[in-house]
Symmetry: C2
Subunit: 188 residues, 2 copies
Amino acid sequence: MKELEQRILKDGVGIGSDILKVDSFLNHQLDTGLIARMGEEFARLFAGCGANKILTVEASGIAIAFAAARAMGDIPVVFAKKALPNTMEDPYVAKVHSFTKNTDKTIVVSKSYLSGGDRVLIIDDFLAYGSAGLGLVDIVRQAGAEVAGFGAAIEKSFQGGAEKLRALGITVHSLAVIASIEDGNIKF
Amino acid sequence: MKELEQRILKDGVGIGSDILKVDSFLNHQLDTGLIARMGEEFARLFAGCGANKILTVEASGIAIAFAAARAMGDIPVVFAKKALPNTMEDPYVAKVHSFTKNTDKTIVVSKSYLSGGDRVLIIDDFLAYGSAGLGLVDIVRQAGAEVAGFGAAIEKSFQGGAEKLRALGITVHSLAVIASIEDGNIKF
């Protein structure tokens, strides 16, 4: 998506060889018009995928998933939580490894909101090593539901996450694919 | 907002005398059509408030703030974070007390995204004791910015948060005002 690529070049901050900071329009401050157009692009890319629900993970995935859901006829969004609320009993749980922080975390989804009949489009802000993505796929499969596809706003293709998802037979579309970050210099 | 009140009565779960669970449409699964209409209602209530930016807090405020921003001409949304990202230096910090969990947490906003010229509409999912709201007001004032108003999706008026904000001269609008929860029974 040209508009997103141009925005990354204008306002994204490459750090070292693996980090891209997009705090000014996607991860802390939100450009809501851009994100709405990203939602429309996901709707176009995944037209006919048959999804009846979108799954994402808090917090940065929420606005993008919301915009995609609006563009897909207001199908429901479920966002996985990073901490177990004390009012949630017996959720689906998956482990997610953070390569940048070298920590393991769990994400949870209530069993009330995913079940066997669902076809689930997974949407997230970043697709890097694929750990969060694989965790979300794991949760969809625990529910006995089908993965309708995986949409990432920004893919860092040199970190291999998309390949891991495609190896599971999942259709992956990313709105911007970053081939490398070298001394903060971003290349598509 | 009649539609939200009716939805709370239909799908909200009152627990004891102080908790309202709205996981099925607002806090874990999102009814994106309803939330879009809530955003339009905030735009109507705060028309003329002069806000050039919306501030909320992750995670449950994000979709509502996004919808309000869209309805207000795509002004930017900034969401406060509950943990300090390792790429954020020297943020605005405020303390937030959770009455239900009896814990103190901090919320942070990068100094890059709020400054002296801003008029900031604060939006959140719940207004209960007002602790998160006061923390967000504190951050706006640390930035030397003006609070243009405070919008809550659901106010629990018996917990007093709205009074605390109004005592600071802040205009507060809530889309649904809950007067009491008794044995799980919700009254407006």
